[in-house]
Structure formats: structure tokens, C-alpha cells
């Protein structure tokens, strides 16, 4: 285990674990505190998996006592994690298409593994058929110039930036960045705060394109038993038989049109 602070209150943690073997981009783990009075696992999405798939990387913001404890963990410490949880992004929906990967704030980390896998896939499809090449554009929104993971993302494709204070890239949000750069896509993959996801849902509906968005909700079990983390669905859900899907096990990624956010 190794850890460093890559932006104010944003920590970058690598955990050695065989769970890394079959991680899909967009999946998450439940991380347990050592404080015996804080019991529930903290759901944190997976940012990246190392080359030999023996360790996974999470990038999280200090958001309370639990993550505060995490930030104090030292290299070599043993930690408890539950996972791998959730279904991740449906890569196949983007293959051979023009793809937007949109991330906002602490929703950016999961987009890295996704960008990486698309990049790998792009090379491959390119070899097969020139026209069917996957074209990935990353659009990332930050508060300010503390653009954590910037260099990591830039290895895997074009990255456009938006910052609330305008210090880097477009002043505004990720949708402002799209307009300013006059770029379009056939499909969107996104993770970030709810207002951003709502805006992306609306944008995708205008454009008549699908948007796969990763949702978050307070969780207890993380495995689909407690029904704590649900999202309202347009149709009756196959499992719950009501208009609710479980974010932890049916998600966290949903096609924007299927959920009411």
C-alpha cells in the first residue's frame, strides 16, 4: 500500500490485492476504517489497475471521519476492503464510436481506467478497420487549477478541461467546454456530482445520444441486500419489481434515460 496527497484533501492510494485481477472500469470497492466505532464500508470507485493487475488505485476526497482516517494510512499497512462491487461502464457501447468521457471533481478518477481501456481498444480496432476506430475525448471539470490526474488522463487521449474559476481550460463546467471546443460524440460515459449528471442527461437527450452515468448514494451493505442505495427507474426494475434499482449491484452505471435523477 502506498499513498500520497495529489490535491488539497484529495488522496491517491494504491492497494495491493488480488481483487485487482478482474476489475472493470466504473466498479468500486468498499473500504473499511480501523476505527471500531465507524463500521460501514466506504464505497470508493476504482481509479486504475496496475499493468500486471496485482494492485488497484483509488483517488478519494476527505469527506468525513472515515476518509480522514484513510488519508493517514502509511505504506505497508494492512487494510480491509470489500469488493469488487458494481458493474462498471459498458465499454462495448462505445467501441468504434465517438466517445465522450466526462468527469467532474471526485467523479474524475473512475474515468482514468475507462480512458485507458478505450485507448487499448482503439489501437486494436484501428488495426482491424480504419473507419471503425474508437475516438475518445475526455472532458474533465475541476473547481480550480488543482487538476489532479491531468497527466494520467492525457496519456490516453485528448483531454479538455473546464474549471469553475477558469484557471485551466474553459471557465465553467464540462458542457461549457464541449460547446467552446465545438466537439460532438455518439455516446457519453460520465461520473460526477448530480447537477453535472442531470445536465449531461439533458444534453444527451437533445443530441439523441445515449449517456452512461455512474451514480452514487449512501450505502450500507454494498452487495444489494439492504436496499439502502436505490435510484428511481423509468420502468419497473427486474429485481425489485418496483421503480427502484440498486445502485450498488444494478449500477452504479445506468443509461441516463432509464433513471430519474
Amino acid at each position: 500500500m502506498t499513498q500520497k496527497e495529489i490535491a488539497p484533501a484529495i488522496f491517491d492510494l494504491w492497494i495491493k490485492t488480488e481483487l485487482a485481477k478482474d476489475v472493470k472500469p466504473g466498479q468500486f470497492v468498499g473500504v473499511f476504517t480501523k476505527d471500531k466505532s465507524a463500521l460501514l464500508p466506504r464505497p470508493i470507485s476504482i481509479c486504475e489497475v496496475n499493468a500486471d493487475r496485482t494492485a488497484l488505485r483509488i483517488v478519494y476526497r476527505i469527506a468525513g471521519q472515515g476518509t480522514k482516517e484513510f488519508s493517514g494510512w502509511q505504506a505497508g499497512e494492512e487494510v480491509q476492503i470489500l469488493g469488487v462491487l458494481g458493474n462498471g461502464f459498458p465499454l462495448e457501447k462505445g467501441k468504434g464510436k465517438k466517445v465522450f468521457l466526462m468527469g467532474g471533481g471526485i467523479g474524475i478518477p473512475p474515468m482514468l481506467e475507462l480512458a485507458k481501456e478505450f485507448a487499448a481498444d482503439a489501437k486494436q480496432t484501428a488495426a482491424e478497420c480504419a473507419d471503425g476506430k474508437t475516438d475518445v475525448r475526455c472532458i474533465m471539470g475541476y473547481r480550480d487549477s488543482k487538476t489532479f490526474l491531468k497527466e494520467d488522463l492525457e496519456q490516453y487521449g485528448r483531454v479538455y478541461f473546464a474549471t469553475e474559476d477558469g484557471s485551466v481550460g474553459t471557465k465553467g463546467n464540462v458542457l461549457d467546454a464541449i460547446r467552446e471546443n465545438a466537439i460532438t460524440a455518439d455516446v457519453i460515459f460520465a461520473c460526477g456530482p448530480m447537477p453535472m449528471l442531470r445536465a449531461i442527461k439533458a444534453y444527451a437527450q437533445d443530441q439523441g445520444i445515449p449517456a452512461y452515468i455512474s451514480l452514487e448514494e449512501h450505502m450500507a451493505c454494498g452487495v444489494g441486500a439492504c436496499l439502502g442505495c436505490v435510484v428511481k427507474t423509468k420502468e419497473v426494475d427486474h429485481h425489485s419489481h418496483v421503480h427502484n434499482a440498486r445502485i450498488c449491484t444494478d449500477g452504479p452505471v445506468f443509461e441516463a434515460g432509464e433513471v430519474e435523477i
Partner: protein
């Protein structure tokens, strides 16, 4: 000087031999292979935990509450962590009895050693009656736990669980329609739980389970908002254990009915505390979320304790502290 929680025998377990204690226990004429069960609502119908624990090792699976029709439950956030536990206001979301009979029961029947206890909820007496009658068609269901104590649904439920006369009425009504024995699940949010226990006993209940969650609240002081959309939620977890043990003890002294004890059980020591207080079996609830292996670890811990102190039969421990 020595610390409060003193225990001179702590290490004795190490040198105990390896015989197998008799873990069997009975509730309302139903025999269970061991006393470790799951608390309704924390374990679904077991499907989600099958990859962690061998369901065949549990005394019983107590299912998530099921109603006559699908219930959508409450808005989110539905859960919040608190010191030593959590609050939940799921609102008894469930797919309804039809789906439950087709999907969940057949799944649970695969585990022949483990008994099936179905938690029944409703908004009116008739709702409960409908579910109880449907379940009567299924002999694989060993016992019905009647949820009259969910603090998170506006109508029904808790209304039956906080007034002795209401509890008496629904109990006697369900007794008329139930093929299986019925176990009334009591609310801790009452002045005198023994009064409720006596009412259930007088109305013909076959067993009691306690405690359900304790109504709590959490406020996010930075957002100045309730942590749970429902404002209040049911509190569970190790933090509430002493309250639960007290109520199990009081009820065990007040009535003759067998008790399924629960409330913050995290370890075998906790489970044994409930059994010594008078519980014939115990349910593990929120701790399944913290440690998916909790049920089986607790089962093994109880066995080790019985070996350490040479207790041959579990029933010798039930209510042994008075």
C-alpha cells in the same frame, strides 16, 4: 486495580478439547440446527450473501419483510452511519408476496438444513392476513415473523407495535389465519416492553422476536440537513446492544414464550449475552454489512465458548443468568 470488563478466563479457550456441543434449539415447536439466524432486512433472502457464507450452516434465514403487494419504500438517502451503528429508513421496499413465492422461496428451499422464517409486513390487518394466508400454502416456511414494529412506514406497522391493545388484536386475528406458528417482532420504542410481550402472549402468539430498531436521527451540521430523507431512521448496530439485552431479559422474565433475540450482535460474546439473558436463538443484523462472514464466525464462537466452559447443550445456556 483491574479494568471494568474483567474476565480472568479469557485465555482458557485455548486448551479446550475438540468435542462438538449440541447447538440445536427450538422456537414454537420448530427445531433449528443452531441458534444463529439473520435479522430481517439485512440479508435479503440470502441470495446476496450466498457467496460469502454457506447458507446451509445457518439456523435459519429470516427474510426481508414481504407485503401483499410490492412496496416502493422511502426516498433516499435511506441509510446513514452513526457511531457504532447505522440508521435506516428503507421503508420496507419489497417485491410483494407473488414474486416472493416464485423467486425467493424456491431459492431458500435449496438449503435444506436451514429453516425459512418469513418476515411479514402490512399497512392494515387485512394486508397481513393476505400474506399470512399465502405463506400458509408453503410448508417449507417454518415460522412467520410478524413485523409490527417497523419505525419507518407511516401507516400500519408501528401503529400495531406500540399499543398493547392493537398488538393483541392483530395477533389474535393472525392466529386465526396462520398455518405456521407466528412470532411477533416487538418494538423497543415503548415504555414497557413486558406489557407488549404479555399482550402478544395473551393473544396466542407462539414466539417473540426483539428488538426491532430504535428510532434515531442524524443531522448533517455542515449541510444543515437531515442525514436521512425520512428525517428519522431505525438505529441498529453494536451501540444499541445493552438496550436490547435488557429488553430480552425483561421479556424472558415476563412471559413463557420463546425469544429470538437481536440488536447489535457483532460477536459470539454478544450472541451468548442474549442467550444467557433468555433468547432461544439470535439474529445478526447490521453486522452482516460490516462483516459478511459474521453469522458463521459467531456460530463458531458460540461452539468454542461451550467447549471452553464444558456446556454440552445450548439449552443449558438459555436464560441461565437471572
Amino acid at each position: 486495580m483491574s479494568e471494568n470488563n474483567q474476565n480472568v478466563n479469557m485465555t482458557a479457550g485455548a486448551n479446550a478439547e475438540n468435542w462438538a456441543p449440541d447447538l440445536r434449539t427450538r422456537i414454537a415447536g420448530v427445531e433449528f440446527q443452531n441458534p444463529v439466524m439473520t435479522a430481517s432486512g439485512t440479508f435479503g433472502s440470502g441470495m446476496e450473501y450466498g457467496e460469502f457464507v454457506d447458507l446451509n450452516r445457518l439456523g435459519a434465514v429470516v427474510t426481508k419483510g414481504v407485503a401483499n403487494v410490492p412496496w416502493p419504500g422511502n426516498p433516499t438517502p435511506r441509510v446513514a452511519e452513526v457511531y457504532g451503528g447505522m440508521l435506516n429508513a428503507i421503508g420496507l421496499q419489497n417485491p410483494g408476496i407473488d414474486v416472493f413465492m416464485e423467486r425467493d422461496i424456491p431459492f431458500l428451499k435449496q438449503y435444506e438444513k436451514t429453516k425459512i422464517i418469513v418476515n411479514v409486513c402490512g399497512k392494515s390487518v387485512q394486508d397481513y392476513v393476505d400474506v399470512v394466508e399465502r405463506l400458509g400454502e408453503e410448508p417449507a416456511v417454518a415460522l412467520l415473523e410478524i413485523n409490527v414494529s417497523c419505525p419507518n412506514v407511516k401507516e400500519g406497522a408501528i401503529a400495531f407495535g406500540q399499543k398493547a391493545d392493537a398488538l393483541y388484536n392483530i395477533t389474535s386475528e393472525l392466529k386465526k389465519h396462520a398455518k405456521q406458528p407466528i412470532m411477533m417482532k416487538l418494538s423497543p420504542n415503548v415504555t414497557d416492553i413486558t406489557e407488549m410481550a404479555r399482550a402478544a402472549e395473551a393473544a396466542g402468539a407462539d414466539a417473540l422476536s426483539l428488538i426491532n430498531t430504535i428510532t434515531g436521527m442524524k443531522i448533517d451540521i455542515h449541510r444543515r440537513k437531515f442525514a436521512i430523507a425520512n428525517k428519522t431512521g431505525g438505529m441498529s448496530g453494536p451501540a444499541i446492544k445493552p438496550i436490547a439485552v435488557r429488553m430480552v431479559y425483561q421479556v424472558a422474565q415476563a412471559v413463557k414464550l420463546p425469544i429470538l433475540g437481536m440488536g447489535g450482535i457483532a460477536t459470539a460474546e454478544d450472541a451468548i449475552e442474549f442467550i444467557l439473558a433468555g433468547a432461544s436463538a439470535v439474529s445478526v443484523g447490521a453486522m452482516n454489512f460490516v462483516n459478511p462472514y459474521a453469522t458463521v464466525e459467531i456460530l463458531e464462537g458460540i461452539e468454542n465458548y461451550m467447549r471452553q466452559y464444558h456446556v454440552e447443550k445450548l439449552k443449558d445456556l438459555i436464560g441461565a443468568v437471572r
